[in-house]
């Protein structure tokens, strides 16, 4: 019986799959019918386009009928510069005195004061061009249409990056517009070696995705690998680079990000020059950088802009607080539950008296507090700004004294949770902070069951996971776990800039020298003036 039942289930599951396949076949057919070539008859072409764009009131078809010429312009309202279209295209066409019949399209192209034009011969290409905001010019007697580069739409101006603020450093951040973002990078890396590959992803969104790299610095197999992984993405639409990230990761089950994201052109350019590749996407200010290692997630642009002592100190501080945010609550649970003798006596007495009135064991207490802290944090981000203050007031009460007085949690626990909370903001990359927030809970559980030994086992588990992880083939914990030469220079500490003569080992193998030797400033080197 049971065997039969299983078979039945399998059959039921299989059926819809087959039907889905048929559907996709039908869709393909519809698409192929759009591949029809344009004809020389303008009326026929207009009919084709108006059938493709039926029930779209924002598509404007403007016919021009002078005694010399029969033409039409099709565009989407709001996606192109109508002023220029009227002035430079319609004006020019209407005022044409004579025309040359032999090569009509080129003749007309030569009379339009527009720098970017494209010849298109297929219906689908024409439709795509119109949807991208390029007005399409159809001319009677021509097999080809002319797409005019007059795209213009409302866009956000370049602003200071909101998610990666800094005190010292450029204030420009990426915007949602791809062309603006590319121009920002071009303004920093002014060398033809900066190469950009273009892809389109998403069946309906047809989002432009760019792979940027610096030729001569990057390993070409890496670019091919990134391109292949991106090309495999076959979905309806991508709305943020996070979509791409989750489709191209090496280990999709890992809580740790294997790709870095940034909205700062300076960070992106610095990474490009270290031999990494960047992926930019239209519609989001966040660009992706790959491959990365765990330690590059702890680098912030300001480490490099400030003096190296400060960069080193802050970086060490980050690692300290990484450990604290990951292990402090679990260590607290382990020590108060199993190893009270570790705490110095006076402190132990204080903790014991504070915990006297609390009903719950430490592990329950920690879970209550950590979960409510996470909830408050999440609520604070999602709520409309007007309600935000209400949340913080209630939050202060929940995590504040009322909870202690009610005997639900002890005062030391509040300190532990708040230090943990602050510590998790120390990581400059938000996505790592998220991973740490999640991992904290299983470690608390381990600490509550096996004491400090359990915490240590949790640490080893994380280390094993990180050691097995790769980002585009590069070991995640490199250069520390792989013991590269000069491994500490830009990982645990930030060495002086004049010391970092080589690019990072794994990404910079292709072209090692970053700068000339002996750059250490020294007044005696002086130079010519002596």
């Amino acid at each position: 019986m049971s065997v039969l039942g299983v078979k039945g289930i399998i059959r039921i599951r299989k059926l819809p799959r087959k039907s889905r396949k048929k559907n996709s076949g039908n869709q393909a057919k519809v698409h192929s019918s759009q591949d029809t070539p344009l004809s020389g008859e303008i009326e026929q072409n207009i009919a084709l386009f108006s059938s493709a764009f039926r029930e779209s009131p924002d598509i404007i078809i403007r016919k021009i009928h002078t005694d010399k010429l029969l033409a039409a312009v099709i565009y989407v309202e709001g996606l192109c510069d109508t002023k220029k279209l009227d002035e430079f295209v319609l004006g020019a066409l209407i005022s044409l005195q004579e025309i040359e019949e032999t090569d009509l399209l080129t003749f007309i192209e030569n009379h339009l004061a527009i720098s970017k034009t494209e010849h298109l011969s297929k219906l689908s290409d024409g439709v795509n061009a119109i949807l991208l905001g390029k007005p399409l010019l159809l001319i009677n007697g021509c097999q080809e249409a002319l797409a005019l580069g007059l795209t213009q739409f409302e866009k956000r101006p370049i602003e200071e990056p909101k998610a990666e603020t800094s005190i010292r450093g450029p204030r420009e951040g990426f915007t949602e517009t791809l062309s603006t973002n590319v121009s920002l990078i071009r303004r920093i890396i002014r060398d033809p070696a900066l190469k950009i590959k273009k892809l389109q992803i998403g069946k309906y969104t047809k989002t432009d995705v760019l792979i940027c790299y610096v030729e001569g610095l990057v390993d070409h197999t890496l670019i091919e690998e990134i391109e292949n992984r991106l090309k495999r993405i076959d979905i309806d639409g991508v709305y943020e680079s996070g979509y791409l990230e989750q489709f191209i990761e090496d280990n999709p089950y890992s809580p740790f990000p294997q790709v870095l994201y940034t909205e700062r052109p300076d960070v992106l350019s610095a990474n490009l020059l270290e031999g990494r590749a960047a992926i930019l996407m239209d519609g989001t200010p966040f660009a992706l950088i790959a491959p990365v290692s765990f330690f590059s997630l702890f680098q912030s642009q300001e480490d490099y802009y400030e003096r190296f002592w400060i960069g080193t100190f802050i970086r060490l501080l980050r690692f300290l607080f990484l450990v604290i945010s990951l292990f402090l609550p679990s260590t607290y649970v382990a020590i108060t539950t199993f190893h009270q003798e570790m705490v110095p006596t006076s402190l132990l007495l204080n903790i014991a008296s504070a915990r006297e009135g609390v009903a719950f064991p430490a592990i329950v207490e920690v879970f209550i507090m950590e979960l409510s802290f996470e909830a408050l944090r999440e609520a604070g981000i999602r709520l409309p700004r007007q309600v935000g203050s209400a949340v913080s007031i209630v939050g202060a009460l929940v995590i504040g004294e009322a909870a202690v007085q009610a005997g639900i949690v002890s005062a030391p626990m509040i300190i532990v949770v708040s230090i943990t909370g602050i510590a998790s903001f120390m990581v400059p990359r938000y996505s790592v902070g998220l991973a740490i927030r999640i991992l904290r809970f299983p470690i608390i559980l381990l600490g509550g069951i096996l004491g400090l030994i359990g915490v240590m086992l949790g640490f080893i588990l994380i280390i094993i996971h990180l050691c097995g992880l790769r980002s585009f083939g590069i070991p995640y914990l490199s250069p520390i776990s792989t013991l590269q030469k000069n491994l500490y220079r830009d990982s645990l500490i930030r060495a002086p800039l004049w010391k970092m003569n080589e690019r990072p080992h794994f990404t910079g193998n292709f072209n090692k020298t970053r700068q000339s030797e002996d750059l250490k400033p020294d007044p005696n080197k002086g130079g010519e003036e002596g």
Binding site: F338, H339, E341, M342, P344, I449, L450, G451, L452, I453, G454, V455, M456, L457, F459, I460, L461, I463, I464, C467, G468, P475, L477, I480, S481, T482, L483
Partner: protein, 363 residues
Amino acid sequence: MTGKEKISAVQIEFMMVPTIIGTGLLSIPAIAAKLALHDMWLTPLFGAITGYITVFIVWKIYKLYPTLTPYQYSEEILGKWIGKIVGLVFVFFYIQNCGLIVRQYSDFITSNVMHETPLVAFSTTLLFISGLAVRGGIEVVARSSVICSGIYIAWALVVLFIINKIDLGQLLPFLENGPLPLIKGSMIHSSWYSEFFLLAFLLPYLNNQKAALKAGMKSVFYVMVLLFYVSFFVLTLFGLTSMNQLYPVYTMIRSLSLFGFFENFEVLVTAAWVLGNYVKTSVFLYVSCIGIAQIFRLSDYRLIVFPVCLLILLFSYWNVPNIVFLIHYMFTIQPFYFMIVQTFLPFVLLMVGMYRKKRRGNQ
């Protein structure tokens, strides 16, 4: 079988050091003190000779068969069937020995840190995470041991805080009863130093063949320094009473006090010691698993990792009934047993192998 996985010489050093001292640190000083009395602090130096000899034998065979593990070259050297039997001896030895390690680890924790938690809780968790690492491959074991051993060995510095309590007079009288007690004490060390034969299973993955001997010798040296360092402080702090303690190093760390405020942080040190034990267990587990896979020609050793873990768990109970028996075993059987399997047997393999090669060369 070795595939594409490669590890570096320094990673091998990071793997070998905790593999030897992981459990050795616990009981060696006490047992050595029983035999060598006041000369206990010198035993690590003499015991290391076994280590150097073992590494040298391993290196000699490695030069003959640079891409094969002992399971594979024993078949090459001794023929298919005898070779397989020798391979099985190794596999059995390492599975049984790994059970011993796991038992020692859980015994230590339950008797010192977590008194009410059952043994099996610690045995299973340690075996589980080691199994995960071994399933990840030798590269994962190597990389994680770099970080784990680094943190583990850094804790050795803590011992320096007792420097104001030591009594150098405990080192005297020097060679009171002639050299014999010293040699006997060193024999205890030999059983741990002979574990350097494990190197032979890791060397086929080494990315730079020339660095093999240096890496092995360096790790023997590091182990020697660490054991010497620990034995020296144990002897000068406790004197001869150290021989009556089960875990003298642990007792030593218990007596530490920093600024009169931080006390009793032996739990932290124990937690760090877990790191070293994890490295040790994973190396042993890895060697056992590839052994079974290579002798029985399995396509992938990963499938049998967790079954072998279960077997090791059972061995950790079958091996020894209690800690007193364990100490007795280390005192009487272990030095000879370990040296026969890990130093003498490889020596035989080397001799036969060299003879065969010479004969083949003559023909």
